[in-house]
Structure formats: structure tokens, C-alpha cells
């Protein structure tokens, strides 16, 4: 059907293409015979005519510009402000990704200590597409609920065991991915809140160490901070880091949910002189970590490497991985059994996990989401009868207590979140983490942008976020009728209809 309102772009562009040089001539004459002021327009239309000529006859990259000239430019201008228009005006409160406005607002309110109660009813879906928690007819009295406690390293009975008292930790974000202000605000907040913070794979955690919080040192595949020239482990450097009093655990990162099978990536825009020195990498080039540890080529060498790091560091040592194939994971667990070597924890990073920079295909299409991965990992560990030999940590969009409880009910014993804490710092989800232009100064090294991130103020927000989450944990636990976190299991969950239909859970 042809609408009478259809805009004939070709006709409009033809008019504009002829009109621009004509207007130039008209204003040239008016400027000459009437007032020289008109030459402001003469010059403007002359420049527009030249640029239009370039669009129409010189450039070959944009078909729209070749066909329509300046008129097509309107499309590019509108397209460039599309994300902001959608975010501010058109996308509803439950639509945005990765986090909806409702999810973000919940974290903001917790971080600012503002009451998060709402009126009238939930805005979420109740059509069987989401996990829900099943409450009990008989809520537990608060006084009867045991406080949360989880000890890493107890299975091996090592001297340097680490006990956490909140099931929430700051997930891996390196200095590099984050600017120094953000790292320090998180570290100070972690100290105030009494939680552990993961350093990310950025090498010696200089800014992480400044604020006195307890740290998990992450060793990525490039082993920044403890690498030899050939990418292998420098034992002396690792021991040096492990001896730092603030470093409580070591985490060997094998893969990441947002880019499974690929190494870390730090875009060249974000490599300052300081980062280049800290990591020992050149400036002006993207830093791409290798996809695997040179020591880990098969299950046996991987398990032996874990043991080596445990022996060297004398600390609890965990591994982080994005869950992929069940058969491979089972073989890895069986190898652990054979060699009687287990990491002190396994952190499973869901495919929906965040990243500072990753190829789109890896973000969108690779890896298993956390709520699907957790029950599989938990089942394999139980079937191999080694569930009690290690702890399980979950990560992947676990920014609110409800989703964390789903993860805890599916087998996790603690949760990591990175973006939850970024939101607590004031992240507005501008999605520019890879460009060094973060408008709120979190994922940038630009001092002008970091100026707005006040370390003291934001560290309070981090503390508030943790405290309000903790308060909610115990309220939910009470509603579920549980005496402790250990009692959580899949009976607490109402599975989405499609998952229920497809799995044997």
C-alpha cells in the first residue's frame, strides 16, 4: 500500500543537492548588493556544497551518502543519538540490557541508603519465564537464623584459611579496566563493609592495596605481575605477592563468561604510561592475553598447575572458569580426584557476565549462562562424590539479592558481582567501558572524568550496598523458612516453565 504521507527521499535530496549551490550564489549576490553580513551564509552554503560534492562523488564508503548527500547525514545524526533517546525516552523500565532501569534503580537505592519499597505491584513478568523463590508457610524467626560463614582452605586444612561472613564479594576488575579512583573507592568500600575484593588480572594490585581491604589476587592467562618473559609463571614474584598481608587468596583465571576461550583484552585507548609499566606492555597497542595458561594443556597439567600455585602461595587457591562442555568438566574433576588435588574453590562465570571489552560474538553466543551452569556443575561434583572438597562461587549478573538466592539455591555458596558494585559507584550503563570515556569516571583513566568519582563518597555507597544486601539476605532467608544459608536448595525454586520442561532438574 502506498501511503500519501510517504516521504520521497530521492526528490528531497535532489532538491537539496541543487539548492545548496543555488543558495550559495543567491547569498553571494545578496551579500554583495545588500549587506556583507549575508556572506556568513554564503560561506556556510559554500562549505556545505563542497562537503555535499564529496559525499556524492568522492567517498565510496557510505551508499546512503553517495545516493542522497546531506539528506542522508540526518539519518547518521539521528542514529548517533539513538541510544540516549531510547534510554531516556522510549525504552520502558523492564526492557534495557544488560540491566533494566528497575534493576539499576534498586542498586542505586541500596547504595544511597534510600528505602526501596514500591507501591501497587511488581513490574516484572509472571508468565513462567523467570526463576522465582518459593517462600515457606512458616517464616523463620530472625533470632534462629545462623549467621553466614564460609571458610576457604578448610578442606585442605591449611594454615592460612579465609573465612567470609557475607556471601558477596567484589568480582575481578583490574586497574586498567577501571581507573584508579574506582579501584580505590571499591577497595575502601570493601574494607568498610568487610568483604573480599578480587584484583582482576592487571598485575601487581597497586591501587587495590592502598585502601587496606582483603584481596583475592587474580592470575590471568598473561600472568601480569608474576610472569616470565615466555608467559610462564614466575614463582618468586607470585610468592612475593602471596606474602603481602592483604592478599588472602589466589584465583587462577582460566576463562571468562563474557569471552570464554579468549584471553583478557585491554583496548589501547586505556593503556596509560602507568599501566604499560605495571603490566610490562607497550603503549598504543591493544593488550590481548593468551586464551590459555602455557602450563595448562590438558586436565592433568592443569590440575598439577593448581597444586603448584597452592604450594607456592600457601594460600587458598581457586579457579575461575566459564562453564562449557559437561564431558570436559567431568574429566577435569575426575583428574582432580585421581591426583587428589582440588582447588579451594571454583568460581563459575556465567555467559551473561560483564567485561571491559570483548568481541560481540563471544559476549552473545558463547558459554553457558550461570543459572543453567550451576546445577550442572553441582551435579557433576556430587556424582563424582567430591562436592565437599571445594567451594562453589557464582558470577553473572548477580546484582540483586533475589537472583543471588537463586544462584545460592542452585549450588553456589557465595556470589561475585562486578557490575553490581559499578552501579553502586554510580555507573549509568553508558556502555563505553572499552573507550576510556566513561562519563562517571569508573572505567576511564581520564583525570577530568575521574574527578567526579569522589573516593570517600563512593566508598560509602559500596558499604551501603553491601549492608542493605545483607539485610535483605536475612529477610529472604527468614521468608524461605531457613535456619542457615546451607539449607538452601533447589526446592526453594520455581523454575521457569521452559527450563522445567527441558531439564531433569
Amino acid at each position: 500500500m502506498v501511503s500519501s504521507l510517504t516521504i520521497n527521499l530521492e526528490k528531497i535530496s535532489r532538491t537539496v543537492n541543487i539548492g545548496l549551490p543555488l543558495l550559495f550564489i543567491v547569498f553571494l549576490l545578496v551579500g554583495y548588493f545588500h549587506s556583507f553580513y549575508f556572506h556568513f551564509l554564503t560561506v556556510t552554503f559554500l562549505l556545505m556544497t563542497v562537503i555535499n560534492f564529496f559525499y556524492l562523488y568522492a567517498q565510496k564508503n557510505h551508499a546512503l551518502l553517495t545516493n542522497f548527500g546531506w539528506v542522508a547525514q540526518v539519518r547518521y545524526l539521528l542514529e548517533s543519538i539513538g541510544p540516549e533517546m531510547r534510554q531516556y525516552f522510549f525504552t520502558n523500565d523492564t526492557e534495557e540490557r544488560p540491566f533494566t532501569r528497575l534493576e539499576r534503580a534498586e542498586v542505586y537505592r541500596k547504595a544511597k541508603n534510600i528505602d526501596s519499597s514500591q507501591a501497587y505491584g511488581s513490574l516484572m513478568d509472571f508468565d513462567g519465564t523467570e526463576y522465582k523463590l518459593r517462600h515457606s508457610l512458616f517464616p523463620m524467626k530472625n533470632s534462629e537464623i545462623a549467621p553466614y560463614s564460609l571458610t576457604f582452605g578448610e578442606e585442605r586444612n591449611i594454615a592460612n584459611q579465609v573465612t567470609i561472613t557475607k556471601p558477596l564479594m567484589i568480582s575481578a576488575m583490574s586497574f586498567g579496566a577501571l581507573g584508579s579512583h574506582a579501584v580505590r573507592a571499591l577497595a575502601r568500600g570493601a574494607r568498610k563493609a568487610g568483604i573480599l575484593m578480587n584484583t582482576g588480572e592487571g598485575g601487581l594490585p597497586k591501587y587495590h592495596l592502598m585502601e587496606g581491604c582483603d584481596l583475592i589476587f587474580q592470575m590471568g592467562t598473561a600472568k601480569f605481575g608474576c610472569r616470565n618473559e615466555d608467559g610462564s609463571l614466575n614463582e618468586a614474584k607470585l610468592q612475593e605477592i602471596a606474602r603481602l598481608p592483604q592478599v588472602k587468596m589466589i584465583e587462577i583465571k582460566f576463562s571468562q563468561g563474557a569471552k570464554p576461550g579468549k584471553g583478557g583484552l585491554l583496548p589501547s585507548e586505556k593503556i596509560s604510561k602507568e599501566i604499560s609499566e605495571l603490566r610490562g606492555v607497550p603503549m598504543g597497542k591493544d593488550v590481548v592475553s593468551p586464551p590459555y595458561h602455557v602450563e595448562c594443556l590438558d586436565p592433568e597439567s592443569t590440575v598439577r598447575f593448581i597444586r603448584r600455585v597452592q604450594d607456592l602461595s600457601e594460600l587458598p587457591v581457586g579457579i575461575k572458569l566459564a562453564f562449557g562442555r559437561e564431558d570436559e568438566f567431568r574429566v577435569l574433576v575426575q583428574t582432580m580426584k585421581e591426583l587428589d588435588v582440588f582447588p579451594d574453590y571454583i568460581s563459575i562465570d556465567g555467559a551473561e557476565g560483564g567485561t571491559g571489552a570483548s568481541p560481540k560474538a563471544f559476549m552473545d553466543d558463547l558459554g553457558v549462562p550461570i543459572l543453567q551452569a550451576l546445577p550442572l556443575v553441582d551435579r557433576i561434583l556430587r556424582e563424582e562424590k567430591v562436592r565437599d572438597r571445594l567451594k562453589l562461587i557464582a558470577a553473572g549478573k548477580l546484582i540483586n539479592s533475589g537472583r543471588m538466592f537463586v544462584a545460592l539455591s542452585l549450588g553456589a555458596q557465595a556470589c561475585y558481582t562486578a557490575r553490581g558494585f559499578m552501579l553502586a559507584l554510580g555507573c549509568i550503563q553508558a556502555l563505553t567501558c572499552n573507550r576510556n570515556t566513561c562519563p562517571v569516571g569508573i572505567t576511564t583513566h581520564n583525570p577530568h572524568l575521574q574527578k567526579g568519582l569522589d573516593i570517600e563518597v563512593k566508598s560509602e555507597r559500596v558499604k551501603n550496598y553491601v549492608q542493605n544486601m545483607e539485610h535483605e539476605y536475612y529477610e529472604i532467608l527468614s521468608a524461605l523458612g531457613k535456619r542457615s544459608f546451607r539449607e538452601l536448595d533447589t526446592k526453594n525454586l520455581l523454575f521457569p516453565t521452559r527450563v522445567h520442561a527441558e531439564s531433569e532438574l
Partner: protein, 126 residues
Amino acid sequence: MNGKNILLWILQIIPAGILFLTSYGKLSSQPGEVQLFTALGMEPTGRYIIGVVEGLAALLFLTGRFAATGGLLAVGTMLGALIAHATIIGFDPKHAILLSTVLTCSLIVTVARRRELPLIGRTLSD
């Protein structure tokens, strides 16, 4: 900094220097400028406007990041000056040299850094 960048910076500093001087001349109402703008029928408003635009273009040249924008402003101003000299004032050697120097340098900088122009920059690749 590579050779091309050094050359572009030289081509930014030269017109920036000239534009600062001509801008100062206009904004401080030097007799030559007043006479010129009187002939154009733009005295004093036009003189102040052009003085501010020239000063702004000179500053933008020196920011590096917005040099292309400064270049485009300078090209526009010099085209206006060209029209003025061609249609009303006539050419004298001093003005002709200054004008052609600024116009040439600004054109080269604008074309070389065209991708850095706000809004339209990304559509100006070959």
C-alpha cells in the same frame, strides 16, 4: 609523534599565531581594522564577531583534539575575507600573504583531520 603529526602541528601553529594577531587587532579596534570593516559596512559588530571567531579558531588549533573544528572555522573566515577582498576592498600584498597562508594551512589541517570533526567526521572517510 610521527612525521605527519609533527607537520600538522606546524600547520596548526602557523595559522594560530596569525589568527591570534588579527583577532587582537580586531578586538582592540586598531585603525586599519576599523577602516576595513567600515568599508564593508560591518563596523563595529561584524568586526567583533569576526575577531571572536578568529580567536576561537586559533585556540582550537592549539587544542589538538579540536584542531579540525578550528580549521573549518578558519577556512570559513578566510573565505569570507577572500570575498571581502575580491568584491570590495581589493588586495594588498600583506593581506594577500596572510590570507593565503592561513587558508592553505587550515585547509590542509581540516582535510587531514576531517574524521575528528564533530557530528560529520565519521562520514568523511574516503
